[in-house]
């Protein structure tokens, strides 16, 4: 995540003193692995356990995805029994439910992006205009709070608020309406999901923007004012360009998690009645895997989802690097 706030400093000129250590006599560039190991074996030894962790718990599962192309028997070989080719992929490409959950994923992902990406920027801009420091800090502290709650707690709160006797229905009754069983109706699920997402993430999302705002050169505002720009135009021409690298970085990251839309929250909030709008790829594969015990089929769907996610993030990063020069790495 380079250059979220400011361009990375030029490579630190620390090599001379470092290279003059015991191994400094050999020319640095041509140092062989043998020499590196002899010199830094203690450092490398510190990396062994973390590397094992990544290898076993991150990379082995990636390899484990071969079961998407193989027949898998629970309790059997973790890499499956025999090859079946693209059978499971053909299966879900012809599965109407898959396309339903695929659409739901796109809709929920888009809605989340539409609200959860710009709102932190708006809130940060509003907070930036507050001159009373204590009031600002108070609003910040309160708005960060939901970020620290477990998804289970958020889901439980949503259930309480939207229950028949909950606060939402008290409002409905106040305006003379009939109580609605919000969580039982497919029509309400997206609204509920996105609002709870906004409630939990927007405040915390302002942190990086607020930090970026403090790095904008005040002289630029001065210059804009002399040119006759009002507040609004100052915001448009100075503030927004000033935080653009932050915006791009966060946009790319948001797009990267686009396909993985709040799996845990949906799992907690949905029910068979709301499947038509709430069921997404990840929840569908969860049910396929753990309720229908169709591991290979579920793994195929999961692999498809992960590859799309990777392609999305790479594409977004490429476009961003070509157009505005911001890149994640």
């Amino acid at each position: 995540m380079t250059s979220t706030l400011r361009p990375p400093p030029p490579a630190p000129p620390r090599s001379p003193s470092k290279a003059s250590g015991p191994a400094g006599r050999s020319p640095r560039r041509r140092r062989s692995w043998r020499q590196a190991l002899r010199r830094d074996w203690q450092l490398y030894s510190l990396a062994i356990l973390p590397l094992l962790f990544f290898l076993i718990f991150r990379y082995l599962p990636m390899v484990g995805n071969v079961i998407a192309f193989r027949r898998f028997k629970p309790g059997g070989n973790i890499f499956g029994e025999y090859w079946v080719g693209l059978r499971y992929f053909r299966m879900f490409f012809t599965d109407p439910t898959f396309w339903e959950v695929f659409t739901n994923t796109l809709v929920l992902g888009t809605l989340t992006l539409l609200f959860c990406f710009p709102l932190p920027i708006v809130l940060a801009l509003l907070l930036n205009e507050v001159r009373a420091k204590r009031f600002k800090r108070f609003v910040q502290s309160v708005s960060y709070l939901p970020h620290f709650l477990s998804i289970v707690i958020v889901a439980a709160m949503v259930m309480q608020l939207t229950s028949i006797e909950g606060a939402a229905n008290q409002l409905v009754r106040m305006f003379g309406g009939d109580p609605v069983a919000f969580l039982q109706q497919p029509g309400w699920f997206r609204t509920i999901y996105v609002s709870s997402e906004v409630w939990q993430t927007v405040g915390w999302g302002t942190i990086l923007y607020l930090a970026a705002l403090t790095t904008i050169d005040q002289d630029l505002y001065e210059a804009a004012r002399i040119d006759g720009a009002g507040r609004l135009r100052q915001t448009w021409h100075v503030t927004l360009p000033g935080i653009r690298p932050t915006m791009m970085t966060l946009l790319i990251l948001n797009i990267g998690s686009f396909m993985a839309v709040g799996f845990e929250k949906i799992l907690l909030l949905y029910n068979p009645l709301t499947y038509p709008t709430a069921d997404v790829i990840s929840t569908y594969l969860f049910r396929m895997g753990f309720q229908s015990s169709n591991f290979s089929y579920a793994a195929a769907i999961g692999l498809f989802e992960a590859v799309i996610g990777l392609v999305l993030v790479l594409t977004a990063n490429l476009i961003s690097r070509r157009t505005v020069g911001t890149s994640l790495w």
Partner: protein
């Protein structure tokens, strides 16, 4: 809060005099921000009020943010449920063990990655970074953890998520910002790498380690899905899964014997469980908030 807002009005920093439009904007802005505060806090107040209210008022839909018919029965009911306490203790144990493992692994790797002259460093960074954007997925992970025999053990909860790449980058950025002179002097004095890390670097890194402990502890305290996936025995579950089962209607405290009681008490019990699960986080939040903020910023500036 309004009083606070108008009282400490800072001197104008931008521009000589505010235009009329801008003055109106500032009033609207204050109102909007107060609205944000109210909307954020309302669910909390609502849940607390419900947890303290008499069941009848809740069912009648009369509780918003003030408790009606003050009643602690639900608290007593939950507190007398042995399973709740067992699960709560599990959450504490899992959080402590997992945080400890995570801190050790993250510190070691971050320290290695922070050495710019190390051969193969960019490969080691790449190994970690790639996992941020591509993961094996749910099913292969499940198959792996199961075949390692970790199911229904604490290890299924504390090991598979031991290193968060984001935290790793934050810590790496911090180590990179430390002056190298001290380490070099220590090396000249004959300290080896382990000695330097333990006696020179770590004492200088107390703040970042505290931040990391907080990041990890909160995420493990809040996590439920791994436990839900890998633990089948009720007495192994963390309290988040206890709450999950409660809201999913899968279980209810043993003490609520009669079925009718169960349904009746459900709403209040959920509220009470939410309150008791959130309490520790709310209690420490005001004191540790700034560490989180500084941690996030450190991760974003470099990384």
């Amino acid at each position: 809060m309004v009083i606070l807002g108008t009282k400490s009005e800072a001197p104008k920093t931008r521009g000589p005099v505010d235009s009329r439009g801008y003055r109106i904007f500032r009033v609207v802005n204050t109102v909007v921000l107060i609205g944000v505060v109210v909307v954020t806090l309302f669910p909390f107040l609502n849940i607390v009020a419900r947890s303290l209210s008499e069941e009848a008022y809740i069912i009648a839909g009369k509780v918003s943010i003030v408790p009606r018919g003050f009643d602690l029965t639900a608290y007593k009911l939950l507190m007398s449920d042995a399973l709740f306490w067992t699960n709560y203790r599990n959450t504490v144990v899992y959080t402590v063990v997992a945080t400890l493992i995570s801190i050790v692994l993250t510190t070691c790797y971050a320290y290695v990655l922070s050495k710019p002259q190390l051969k193969g460093r960019s490969f080691l960074v790449g190994v970690a970074l790639f996992t941020m954007f591509f993961s094996g997925g749910l099913i292969p992970n499940y198959v792996l953890v199961t075949s390692l025999g970790m199911k229904n053990t604490i290890w299924a909860v504390v090991i598979p998520n031991a290193i968060s790449v984001f935290n790793l980058l934050v810590m790496k950025a911090f180590f990179e910002s430390l002056p190298t002179e001290l380490e070099e002097a220590a090396a000249v004095d004959g300290l080896n790498t382990y000695g330097i890390l333990l006696r020179i670097v770590l004492p200088l890194s107390k703040a970042i380690i505290a931040t990391m402990v907080l990041f990890y502890a909160v995420s493990f305290w809040n996590s439920w899905f791994t436990a839900f996936l890998y633990l089948d025995q009720q007495d192994l579950l963390p309290v988040t899964v206890y709450l999950r089962n409660l809201i999913a209607g899968a279980t209810s405290p043993e003490s609520t014997a009669a079925n009718a009681d169960k349904v009746q008490a459900a709403a209040t019990l959920q509220a009470v469980t939410i309150v008791l699960t959130t309490l520790p986080i709310l209690a420490v939040y005001p004191f540790v908030q700034r560490y989180f903020v500084s941690g996030v910023l450190l991760g974003a500036v470099k990384g």
